[in-house]
Every structure is written in structure tokens, then in C-alpha cells.
């Protein structure tokens, strides 16, 4: 049995997969990818260097906490959602993000929006990001209008600012009378319309759109795309994730292709889409068992990835000096320990507390 299992594991020199087109670039060469060139001399908006995300596959909560506290010691199974992704994005860039399901797209977007923290690497974002995801932040028992208000409040708008734009948002959403119905009665298309309408009225510098447009109908998608073109014309930076390659092609200038936690390609949309289509074609013509072993080998590589491998790869980088390399290899800090002064303060506080308790209980003062 063990013998059989071994056979199904895919190795890079397995003849069945040898012809895979466009193997991912070496991790240290990502910064040389054409997508990182600043063609129009625009100010830089987002810089990512060797961003990783390690997920702990330990199921129990204690294991998770241990993993956060002491990532090096924990022996539990790991999964690297991102294996060190580097890229530059400039003001006015509209970046498409493509890749098969489970490739790490959502992880990257969540890190960009601040919902998750990267495990290691450096991420510099200049400006406010806003993540538009259809299923997020809408409360089922509130009506559309109330959800608009709540979400705007959460964005930090004042009541007056909300009053000023609430009608615009409601109108843009095309929900008509349904805007006064609880969101639980909405179809997925209606939710998407509402979510999108709220998000585009928040006016963030950097917009992150996560497959939001794929559920709306054609007419609304058109309208939304037009709205986003306005943003593009206004020089906003947009990340756009979609499986609809047509939308990516029409709307974005650059595209990142992320696969199995690696940045496979980053460059102008037409080229990357062609590569992606070629790759998909190649993949689809594989036999089922080859597909299976190919995917499981890639997933296994994400399991087996470790900090040593990361450090080795970063060491090959020609753009960073040694100091920076050292910094980037290290995990991002989990906040410091309690400082000595604070320990003393806590101890003194506890001491005074105990004395006061004694004074009151025994002496009644």
C-alpha cells in the first residue's frame, strides 16, 4: 500500500507533468517580473516583500494559541497559504488577481485589507483600504437602508455625512422597494448589489474587490464596471479578484497569477491571461489521476514549506541588502512581553491591593 501511495505523488521530473507551461518564477526573482515596473512614474501605493501566511492545521484552540506565541517550537502540521509573495503596486493601477480556487487569492486580499496579519514579510500600504466582499458585514435582520447606515457608521462616517449620501447609495443599488426589506429576504444578486453600492460610496484610496461582481446580473455588472472605471480615471488603486476572465481582461491593466501560495506571474493583463488560459488548457487535458497527484504534490509542498526554505530563497534576492533580508526572514512580532517597569507596576499594584484588603478586613479602616 505504501508503495502505491508513493507512486501517485507527483514530482517535478515526473514525465506526466514535464510539459507544464510557465512554471512559477523563483521566489527571489518576483521583483523582476514586468508587473513591478513603474511605467507611468506614479507614486507607489502598496509594497509587499516576501509576504507569507502560515496557517496552523492544529485543531484545538490551545494549539493555535501556542502556535501564535511560539511559532518555531510548535510541531503541529502547517499549511503555508502564501509562500513569500513580492510585488509593487502603483497609484492608479488596476490589478487583476487570478488563480484556481484555494490558491491564496483570498488570503492575500484579507492581508491587504487588514483582516488577517501576515506571518512574515513586509507590507507597506499608503492609504486606506476597503474590502468589498458580498457576504461581509450585512446583518440579516436589518433592512437594506439600515445596513447602509450601519456599514457607513462602521466606516467612521458621521450621521450627517450618511444622510447626505444614503439616497445615492439606495438609488445606485437599484433595489427599489426592497431597500426597506430585511436583508434576509434578499437574493444573492441583491446582496451583492447592496454591498457593492455601499462600498463604492465610501471613497477609499485602495479598493479590494473580491468576486463581488460575479453574482450580479449583466446590467448591474455593466453599471458597476462603469463605476469602477470612474474610480480608475480618478487615479484610485484597485485590486480585482474574479474568475470571470472577461471582466479581468476588460477592466484591469495588470494581472497577478497566484497559484498554490506562489506568485506565478505578474505583468500586463493580456500576456498573463494568455498564460493562464494555456495553463488551464494544459491542466484540463491531463488524465484525472495525474491531475489528482499534481494537485496533492503542490498542496504537500505548501505543507512542507518552512522558514529555512524561505530564508534560502530570500538569500538569493538581488534587490535587498543583507540587513533587510535578515529583517524580512524573521516573523513579524507578536507584540512585546510585558516590560520590566510594567511588571513592577503590576506587582506594586497587587501589593498595595493586598495591603488595602488587609487594612479593611482586619482593621475596618
Amino acid at each position: 500500500m505504501a508503495e502505491d501511495n508513493k507512486k501517485t505523488v507527483y514530482t517535478p521530473d515526473d514525465p506526466r507533468g514535464l510539459n507544464e507551461p510557465f512554471l512559477p518564477v523563483a521566489i527571489a526573482k518576483q521583483i523582476d517580473l514586468p508587473g513591478n515596473k513603474n511605467v507611468s512614474d506614479a507614486p507607489i501605493k502598496v509594497t509587499g516583500r516576501y509576504i507569507t501566511k502560515e496557517y496552523d492545521m492544529g485543531t484545538s484552540r490551545n494549539e493555535k494559541i501556542q502556535a501564535i506565541l511560539n511559532p518555531l517550537k510548535s510541531n503541529k502540521e502547517k499549511f503555508w497559504g502564501l509562500k513569500g509573495i513580492s510585488f509593487d503596486v502603483f497609484e492608479g493601477d488596476v490589478v487583476g488577481v487570478i488563480g484556481v480556487n484555494g490558491s491564496g487569492k483570498s488570503t492575500l486580499l484579507n492581508i491587504l485589507s487588514g483582516a488577517l496579519v501576515e506571518t512574515s514579510g513586509r507590507l507597506v500600504i499608503k492609504g486606506q483600504t476597503s474590502l468589498l466582499s458580498v457576504w461581509d458585514g450585512l446583518r440579516d435582520n436589518l433592512t437594506g437602508l439600515e445596513n447602509i447606515r450601519l456599514k457607513s457608521l462602521m466606516m467612521g462616517l458621521s450621521n450627517k455625512e450618511i444622510d447626505d449620501q444614503i439616497n445615492d447609495i439606495a438609488e445606485f443599488s437599484e433595489l427599489g422597494k426592497f431597500i426597506k426589506q430585511p436583508v434576509k429576504n434578499y437574493s444573492s444578486g441583491m446582496r451583492s448589489k447592496l454591498g457593492f453600492s455601499i462600498a463604492v460610496h465610501q471613497d477609499p484610496d485602495i479598493m479590494i474587490i473580491d468576486e463581488a461582481l460575479s453574482v450580479g446580473d449583466q446590467t448591474f455588472t455593466r453599471k458597476a464596471l462603469n463605476k469602477m472605471k470612474e474610480f480608475k480615471a480618478a487615479g484610485k488603486t484597485i485590486f480585482f479578484v474574479s474568475h470571470a476572465l472577461g471582466q479581468i481582461e476588460e477592466f484591469t491593466d495588470k494581472t497577478m497569477w497566484i497559484q498554490y501560495g506562489e506568485l506565478r506571474a505578474y505583468g500586463d493583463t493580456a500576456t498573463i491571461l494568455q498564460e493562464y488560459k494555456d495553463w488551464t488548457k494544459w491542466y484540463n487535458q491531463l488524465d484525472d489521476d495525474v491531475k489528482k497527484s499534481y494537485v496533492s504534490a503542490r498542496k504537500q509542498a505548501q505543507n512542507d514549506f518552512n522558514r529555512t526554505q524561505l530564508a534560502e530563497r530570500i538569500a538569493e534576492d538581488g534587490h535587498l541588502d543583507n540587513n533587510e533580508k535578515k529583517k524580512i526572514v524573521r516573523d513579524n512580532e507578536i507584540g512585546g512581553r510585558l516590560s520590566l517597569l510594567n511588571w513592577l507596576l503590576a506587582l506594586a499594584g497587587t501589593g498595595i491591593f493586598a495591603y488595602a484588603v488587609y487594612m479593611y478586613t482586619y482593621l475596618g479602616r
Binding site: A115, L153, M154, G335, N342, V357
Partner: protein, 271 residues
């Protein structure tokens, strides 16, 4: 020390957001109810009425407590207890329940416990006012003692902030903690002096145990609010009690703020 200040500064900076969210939550909470916000008033009144029936009439505690009629004493204490207990318990799950939503929003998650406190402020003020009216109706004179309420209100906010940050952070990491707190609070209720003054019931023979009970922060705050409106004592009558209370706040706040800042970036991974 720096940690305390960082978290506190967030509360101050985002105070308008806190109030707006609190107002909105209140409106959203009773959205499907025809009586709406009135329920925030009816519920405590019914609860207080129950205690009055049991302890005021049933167990003949009636007559006077601290020299004033039991009903006024009970309503003031119960109003304070309900405010503290509700805010305290709500704060405990506030971060856990909202972490996914809030981490994408434009404010720090540390304000979520505070939002829960401010949601309960208006019902508290209303019930407290009823209690004071009842007390005045039964012959209590409001004196300069009443100004002490300002101090005790600040003390309540400090208590709820410190414990809110601490409990909410721990609950994200260990959900069992919330159940534990819930169990403890059922117990604390009877020692908080909200419905019976257990310390004086113990009598002079168990003076020390009585005073030990009086040191719990809930008792301190409830007794303080009563002192303010029933003119039964001054803040400086019991210096050690004050010191114990504030030292407890300081240490909790220090550890709570530290843990909160240390782990908050990872909350989304833990829930």
C-alpha cells in the same frame, strides 16, 4: 503604562463613533418589537418588582435598610447592578462576536466593549431616576452627597473599561472563559449588595467576612451610588476600600491592555 494609554487614547479618539454605534445598536435591537426601547425599561422594572415581592414583603426585609425604605434602596441598587452586570457580560463577548466584521472597518476593535457600556447608559439613568424618585417620595432628602455620583459614575466607566478589555480579550482566546464568568456572576450577584445587604446580615460576629465581601468592586460601586443618593456616607469614609478598588482597576487594566495589544492582530485567526 504605555499600553494603558494607547488603548485609552483609542477610546477617546473614537468616542463619537462609540456613541453612534451604541445608538444604532439600541435602535436595531428592538427593531421588530412594537414597544421598542420601552422593553429596556419594562424588563428591569419587572425584575425589581420580583425582588421587592420576595425580599421586601415575603421575607419581611421591608421597613428600613440603612435607615431608608427598602423599595428606594432596592431600586437604586438594582439599577446600578443591572447596568454593571449587563455591560460587563456584553463586553465579554463583544470582540469575539464582531471580530470578522470589525477588523475590516476603520476603527480599532478595542472600542467594542465600550460600545456595549454606552448602549446601557440610558436605561441605567432612567431606572436610577425612578429609584431616586421613589426614595425621595419616601422621605429621603437629597443632599450634597449626590455630587459623589459623578465620582462613582467615572469609577463605573473605569471598571467596565478595564474589565471589558481584559475579559473580551481572554474570551477570544478561551471561549470557556465567558461561561465561567457567567457562572461567577450569578454568585457575585448575591454578594453585590444589590438586593440584600449581606454584610450587615452576617452581623458583628462575622465582621471580617462581611468586610471582605464589601471589597468586591460591584459592592463598592453599588454602595457608592446608594451613598450618593441616600446620603449615607462619603467617599473618604473608607480609604482602604477606595485604594483596593483602584489598585484592582490598575492591575486589570495593565494586563488587559497588554494582552489586547499583543493579540489583537491575531484575533481573526483565533475565532
Amino acid at each position: 503604562m504605555k499600553e494603558i494609554w494607547i488603548v485609552l487614547r483609542e477610546q477617546i479618539k473614537y468616542f463619537p463613533v462609540i456613541l453612534r454605534l451604541a445608538r444604532y445598536e439600541t435602535r436595531a435591537k428592538y427593531k421588530d418589537h412594537s414597544l421598542g426601547i420601552l422593553w429596556d425599561f419594562i424588563n428591569p422594572v419587572m425584575q425589581i418588582a420580583t425582588y421587592w415581592l420576595v425580599f421586601g414583603i415575603g421575607l419581611r426585609q421591608g421597613g428600613t435598610t440603612d435607615g431608608v425604605s427598602y423599595v428606594g434602596w432596592l431600586v437604586i441598587g438594582q439599577a446600578t447592578w443591572l447596568f454593571l452586570n449587563t455591560s460587563f457580560m456584553d463586553a465579554t463577548w463583544s470582540i469575539r462576536a464582531n471580530v470578522r466584521q470589525v477588523s475590516k472597518m476603520n476603527f480599532p476593535i478595542s472600542i467594542m466593549p465600550t460600545v456595549r457600556t454606552w448602549i446601557n447608559v440610558i436605561p441605567f439613568v432612567l431606572t436610577l431616576a425612578v429609584g431616586v424618585l421613589i426614595a425621595v417620595g419616601s422621605g429621603v432628602q437629597l443632599t450634597a452627597h449626590a455630587f459623589q455620583f459623578v465620582y462613582y459614575f467615572i469609577a463605573m466607566l473605569a471598571f467596565l473599561h478595564a474589565l471589558g478589555i481584559f475579559n473580551a480579550t481572554i474570551t477570544v482566546m478561551f471561549p470557556d472563559y465567558q461561561q465561567l464568568i457567567q457562572t461567577i456572576m450569578r454568585f457575585v450577584f448575591w454578594f453585590s449588595g444589590a438586593v440584600i445587604d449581606i454584610a450587615s446580615k452576617l452581623g458583628p460576629t462575622h465582621g471580617r467576612i462581611g468586610r471582605l465581601i464589601e471589597l468586591n468592586p460591584f459592592y463598592y460601586l453599588i454602595a457608592g451610588v446608594r451613598d450618593s443618593f441616600l446620603s449615607t456616607g462619603w467617599i473618604w469614609d473608607h480609604p482602604s476600600q477606595n485604594i483596593a478598588f483602584w489598585m484592582f482597576i490598575l492591575v486589570t487594566l495593565l494586563i488587559g491592555s497588554h494582552l489586547h495589544l499583543k493579540f489583537r492582530a491575531h484575533f481573526a485567526d483565533l475565532v
